[in-house]
């Protein structure tokens, strides 16, 4: 399909068109940028760096009902994800889309997760290229991503100043582009070349990096290494690094029952940094301190996941570095892993 342009003065009407779907876009809540469902195009805030909470929660909600039940009754009412309808996530960053592509492998592995996969199937991802890397701690290029990366995306938008260059990347993307055709024009000649130049320039602005070669194999050999104690010394054991990670996908399942006997089985995000995460019913915890929990966080992303799925479960978005209250820095930890002997 031909590349198109979306003039900036037509963005609102295009978004209006998309509100016939469940439209999710970056929006401001006070000064915090979050992805949320928008009804009114004025709510969308596209001049953002990156959102604090990644858009993973659109396809993997922090809390979701799996089914409802009545105590004493054998009948269950399963959740029908279909009811949420077709969804468009508009303006997410390439790293966050790539993260979804990475997490897809887990949710479609030994057991096909119907809730997640159905939702993914219903969702079209319209990415917004990072002409300027949103953060000093971006390192997507070290993990095989890029500020203009297309993995996981259905459409890529590039800010060309007075308009966005619109490139459909998948069948889903072409279909959505078709839906928007009344608001799109032919892209000016030379736009694609200019976008390539912008992409190269953006990659050049990524300031931080790590050579991941050999890390997945080396990590298990450092199980009792003293580095884990050092790098976790300041850790508070909060859930910022995991909850705000676009690839972290651990969840807990709990039943919630009202006094009436009506209840639901719900799943909700869990964090391997929490003290009760691996707590056994016996009271024993195989990961008794933040040292073991930090080791697990890094090992899961950089060793267990690539061994099973052939891709590191980190996209280099930098959120865990930016938002850690005590400046625990995953790149510094990885450098220590590389240097350790």
């Amino acid at each position: 399909m031909a590349v198109k342009k979306l003039s900036k003065d037509k963005v609102k009407e295009a978004l209006q068109e998309l509100t016939k779907f469940r439209l999710i876009a970056p929006a401001k809540s006070d000064e915090v940028v979050i992805f949320k469902q928008i009804e009114n195009p004025d709510e969308a805030y596209l001049e953002y760096g990156n959102s604090t909470v990644p858009p993973k929660r659109v396809v993997f909600p922090q809390t979701e009902t799996l089914f409802r039940f009545l105590r004493g009754s054998p009948e269950l009412k399963e959740k029908d994800v279909e009811e949420e309808g077709t969804t468009v996530i508009f303006g997410l960053r390439p790293c966050d889309a790539r993260a979804m592509a990475i997490v897809d492998r887990l949710f479609s592995w030994d057991y096909e997760d119907p809730y997640y996969l159905k939702r993914r199937q219903l969702t079209t991802l319209v990415g917004l290229a990072c002409v300027e890397p949103p953060s000093v701690n971006c390192f997507c290029t070290s993990l095989g991503g890029s500020p203009f990366g297309t993995e996981g995306l259905d459409i890529l938008l590039t800010d060309m100043g007075d308009h966005y260059l619109v490139q459909a990347l998948t069948e889903k993307g072409e279909k959505l582009q078709e839906t928007l055709s009344a608001h799109l024009e032919d892209a000016p000649a030379g736009d694609e070349k200019k976008a390539e130049e912008l992409a190269a320039a953006a990659e050049g602005k990524i300031a931080r990096s790590i050579n991941t070669e050999g890390i997945p194999e080396k990590l298990p050999t450092l199980w009792e290494h003293e580095l884990w104690k050092k790098v976790s010394a300041a850790c508070l054991g909060c859930g910022i690094c995991t909850f705000l990670c676009p690839t972290c996908h651990c969840f807990d399942i709990q039943d919630e029952v009202e006094e009436t006997g009506e209840g639901r089985r719900a799943r909700m995000w869990d964090s391997c940094m929490f003290s009760e995460y691996t707590l056994h019913a016996s009271g024993h915890n195989p990961r008794p301190t933040r040292r073991e929990r930090t080791r697990n966080r890094i090992s899961h992303k950089y060793s267990y996941y690539p061994k099973r799925f052939e891709v590191i479960a980190c996209v280099g978005c930098g959120r865990c570095i930016n938002l850690c209250p005590v400046n625990i820095d995953i790149l510094e930890i990885l450098e220590q892993v590389v240097d350790a002997s």
Partner: protein, 327 residues
């Protein structure tokens, strides 16, 4: 300002002592002018210690946060002291912890930093976007000096100072074994203007305001974990049976969480502001804490974390306690 060479010299002496196990201070962060906690166990490591207006963390948290595993058979527990660097506000956390008998005074060695104020990183970021990542900031007299991209910029101190510092009553630590500089006189007082503004709102306005904030909460519990007063070994939030609070993240459960958190800190919060600083979604938690702080001061003439000998407010009863707010 604290003389860094003097700080390192004192730290070297302390960590060389036989009865000291660890010294908790600050060191340079991994990028920009971020500072971070430093855990020193060896005299060779003291040269990384710093103090600057970027040293925002309240290190008193680590005294109670430290994990103590059962001592293996045949080994003795390590009872040596932990030395900790504290600013005025942070020292009040130590005082309050000791007031609550969290540990004995002999367990810690306190390096007091008479504090002239720390920066609010969000204010710097807002005024100089991106600069945090590639610049330096120092306090000179009543001005912050920012150096970045070969440029120098002077900003009046009040503009970048953390809110808590603009109303700090105790810049000099209230407990210490050694003071790292001359005492700093109180340079501000608290008029509770922000709390009064909040009090004047109608119930509907307050609900709309907090509903928006609490709906953003992701329940990462960083506000709990960073708090030097949240040191229960068995937190009500982690309990599964009975489960006092659901893990579901929605505005109702989030509100319940924040009400519980604020109530558990009534008469205990020492206003270090760490909960609000670390919140990734900018929930103004100090507004709740400060409302309680003001109430406690007005009703009982009590300020948490100012007198280690005083009995904790909410575990005492006096027959002449004011009761006019009880229906």
């Amino acid at each position: 300002m604290v003389d860094i060479e003097k700080l390192r010299e004192i730290a070297r002496e302390i960590i060389s002592r036989d009865d000291v196990r660890q010294l908790i201070g600050y060191r340079q962060g991994t990028y920009g002018f971020r500072a971070r906690p430093a855990f020193v166990t060896d005299p060779g490591e003291v040269d990384k210690l710093i103090f600057s207006p970027a040293c925002v963390n309240n290190l008193a948290t680590y005294i109670t946060l430290e994990e103590r595993l059962p001592v293996p058979r045949g080994q003795e527990p390590d009872l040596r002291k932990v030395a900790v660097m504290v600013k005025g506000c942070d020292s009040r956390a130590l005082v309050q912890q000791m007031e609550e008998k969290a540990y004995e005074r002999e367990r810690i060695l306190v390096l007091g930093i008479p504090c002239t104020g720390v920066v609010d990183m969000d204010k710097v970021e807002k005024r100089f976007p991106g600069v945090l990542a590639r610049g330096e900031i120092v306090l000179e007299g009543d001005k912050f000096l920012l150096t970045y991209d070969g440029k120098e910029e002077e900003v009046a101190k009040g503009e970048l100072l953390a809110d808590k510092c603009t109303r700090c009553r105790y810049p000099t630590p209230l407990v210490y074994d050694q003071l790292l500089d001359e005492e700093v006189a109180r340079f501000a007082d608290d008029d509770y203007a922000d709390v009064e503004a909040l009090e004047k709102r109608s119930a509907e306005e307050k609900w709309a305001y907090w509903e928006e904030k609490f709906s953003r909460c992701i329940r990462c519990y960083s506000c709990r974990n960073v708090c030097p007063m949240c040191y229960c070994e068995d937190c009500v939030l982690d309990r599964l049976n009975p489960q006092w609070m659901r893990r579901s993240v929605d505005v109702s459960e989030n509100t319940a969480y924040h009400i519980a958190r604020a109530y558990h800190l009534a008469g205990r919060c020492i206003q270090c502001g760490e909960c609000q600083r670390v919140c990734p979604v900018d929930i103004p938690l100090m507004e709740l804490n400060r409302k309680f702080y003001k109430d406690v001061e007005e009703l009982y003439d009590y300020e948490p974390g100012t007198n280690a000998e005083a009995p904790p407010l909410l575990s005492t009863f006096k027959v002449d306690d004011r009761e006019d707010f009880i229906m």
